[in-house]
């Protein structure tokens, strides 16, 4: 039996207090929020951090349902946003104990039951509102990583061009980089639901060392600042293999390590763990789609429709999210080849095999590994670990003029480094041709498109769906730089079937 939270229809109460109370005593815990007019996902995560729990009851569709309402301690103006501050059958916890005529129950008994309810909600780590909060943190973390990497590229670029950097400029860049690392840790803590004191400590320690070096430098002469020592605390990446035992907070020796750890850990926390549990609880749905991806979809609100209760699978007709529909349209474009054999020479085969052996994590990231879409009506975050590469896409196509954005990241591959570089180059060139800001470093591509109209965003998401399919195993076919030109030309001409093979199967 569901527990419902009303958005203000507490007056609608044809059931007696006693009936409602019995429903509560039977342990109704599955939560939705219903006002009688519309159904809204309840911010259950808020239960953990907000102070007040309001209880009451109402009815929907002839079912006696217990209601409760949660509000922030600080939110004094509770009449806002459609939440009724007080109505018959909807009142604060202590007030409820005083007001409700609950047969056979004392105030103490009521408080006890409410406590149990709260504990159960806290114990459920994958509730809807919690997912929303964690997803915001995940987005923020990805964004902090993007900004930090861009800063790092800029810093390294300036140093290699000028071989020196004014002390103040270096100081500012180091601080900005540090701030992004702090944001990453803070957001990781939200995503993973636990503190990371070791990471915080390492960042503080690195910051102090950096400040000391800068202070000594500026006290002497700006030109004497040992830039390489500062950069040495920021830039080197030691945590390269997430499968290695050193890949943990204590293994972070630079700010870049912290950023890398936060990124990997957040992905694991957000997606890889508790998948079965999430599906069982109805938080994620497996999407049936005509491409060889196992896509799990979580809805933040308005992203899915026509869902059958207790059925963990959905198909593309259930997708209401506008950006996700556009991406699916691209992925399933006729001619885009997701499955099948890619022609490669003996050397390529050896390279793929050797590379897979070298990285102990890669066997887990096999073809058809899980992909995750978190959607709302106008928002999409899509993380895909397909084959030996990883891609993330974050997009919003709000109706407000020119507020849409896409952030896209692609990394990895199974072929040799130079072939992976060529595939990254292929992707980067396609994205640039579609007005993205693009940064490519070896096999890593970071791309952004900002302040675009809804239609522009949707057009590019269709293109990205095609690109993800076309690029999937392209690294092994990138024998020469000419191949990059060839594939870019084909893609831009709208010919997606690069090898003349079958369309999606």
């Amino acid at each position: 039996m569901p527990v419902c939270v009303t958005a203000g229809d507490g007056d609608e109460r044809p059931f007696s207090d006693e009936e409602a109370w019995k429903a509560f005593q039977r342990g109704a815990l599955s939560v939705s929020r219903e006002s009688g007019h519309r159904q809204i996902a309840l911010d259950r995560g808020s239960v953990c951090r907000k102070q007040f729990l309001f209880v009451g009851w109402a009815c929907t569709q002839n079912t006696p349902i217990l209601l409760f309402q949660i509000r922030s301690e600080a939110k004094k103006d509770t009449g806002k946003r459609g939440l009724c501050p007080y109505s018959p059958g909807l009142c604060p916890v202590e007030g409820a104990a005083r007001r409700l005529a609950v047969p056979g129950e004392s105030k103490k008994g009521l408080s006890k039951l409410l406590g149990r309810l709260l504990e159960k909600l806290k114990a459920d780590p994958l509730n809807d509102g919690d997912l929303q909060e964690r997803y915001f943190a995940f987005k923020e973390l990805s964004s902090a990583n993007d900004v930090a990497l861009r800063d790092l590229v800029g810093l390294e670029g300036s140093l290699s061009e000028a071989q020196s950097l004014p002390g103040c400029d270096l100081h500012a860049r180091a601080t900005e980089f540090t701030v992004q690392a702090f944001k990453s840790i803070r957001n990781l803590e939200t995503v993973a639901h636990r503190p990371y004191p070791d990471l915080r400590e390492t960042l503080t320690s690195l910051t102090r060392r950096m400040e000391k070096i800068l202070l000594e430098g500026s006290a002497a002469d700006e030109r004497d600042i040992p830039v390489e020592r500062i950069v040495g605390l920021l830039a080197p990446l030691n945590l390269t293999n997430p499968g290695h035992r050193s890949f943990r907070p204590a293994g972070c020796r630079t700010v870049h390590d912290i950023l890398r750890f936060c990124q990997e850990e957040s992905i694991n926390s957000m997606f890889s763990r508790n998948d079965a549990d999430a599906v069982r609880k109805g938080r994620f749905f497996q999407l049936g789609i005509s491409v060889p991806l196992r896509i799990f979809v979580a809805d933040l609100g308005g992203g899915l429709e026509g869902i059958e209760k207790k059925r963990p699978e959905i198909d593309t007709r259930n997708v209401a999210s506008v950006p996700f529909r556009a991406l699916i349209e691209g992925m399933t474009t006729e001619g885009v080849r997701w499955a099948g054999h890619v022609p490669m020479g003996i050397k390529s085969m050896v390279s793929v095999f050797a590379n897979t052996l070298y990285d102990p994590v890669k066997h887990e990231r096999n073809l058809g590994a899980r992909s995750y879409a978190v959607v709302s009506g106008h928002y999409l975050n899509f993380s895909s670990r397909l084959g030996y590469h990883f891609s993330t896409l974050d997009a919003s196509c709000g109706r407000k003029t020119n507020r849409g954005y896409i952030s896209f990241r692609f990394k990895g591959g199974a072929a040799s480094p130079e072939k992976r570089f060529r595939r990254a180059e292929f992707i980067a060139r396609i994205l640039r041709a579609h007005d993205f800001w693009v940064n490519q470093q070896e096999d890593l591509v970071n791309a952004n498109l900002k302040r675009s109209s809804e239609q522009d965003i949707l057009d590019r998401l269709v293109m990205l769906g095609r690109l993800m399919g076309c690029a999937r195993q392209l690294d092994v076919a990138m024998d020469s730089p000419q191949r990059v030109n060839h594939f870019v030309d084909l893609f831009l001409q709208g010919q997606y079937n690069f090898f003349g093979l079958s369309s999606p199967s």
């Binding site: 922030s72 915001f136 923020e140 601080t175 701030v179 702090f182 944001k183």
Partner: protein, 125 residues
Amino acid sequence: MSNRILLVDTEGELLEALKRGIEAVGFHVEVAGDGGKALELVELVSFDVVILEAWAPETGGLETLARIKQSRPETEVIILTVCESADKALEGMNGGAFDYLLKPCDSETLLERIHRAQEKKEMGE
């Protein structure tokens, strides 16, 4: 969303320039030249975002940040400052700031951070 922003800084010209820039994209902007005035305004009005120069003595620095968060935990604070110290930046972030930006900051970055802070605030409501 109320679209209300409070700017707290001592530099008059900068305040005016920022105010104009932020208002141009549809926000209602109030300004305060010191921490006391900022706290008075925060008590009266529920701002989405406060943009605070936390290292000018007149603005009350981290004390003002703490009191804003105490009085209005749902309001997000972005520190916009000339202080380049990474130590200080971490102090500000540990004090509950949503973000820490260095002056000069381009308007696109500032507006993007304001929108993100608003999104976070809205989610918490």
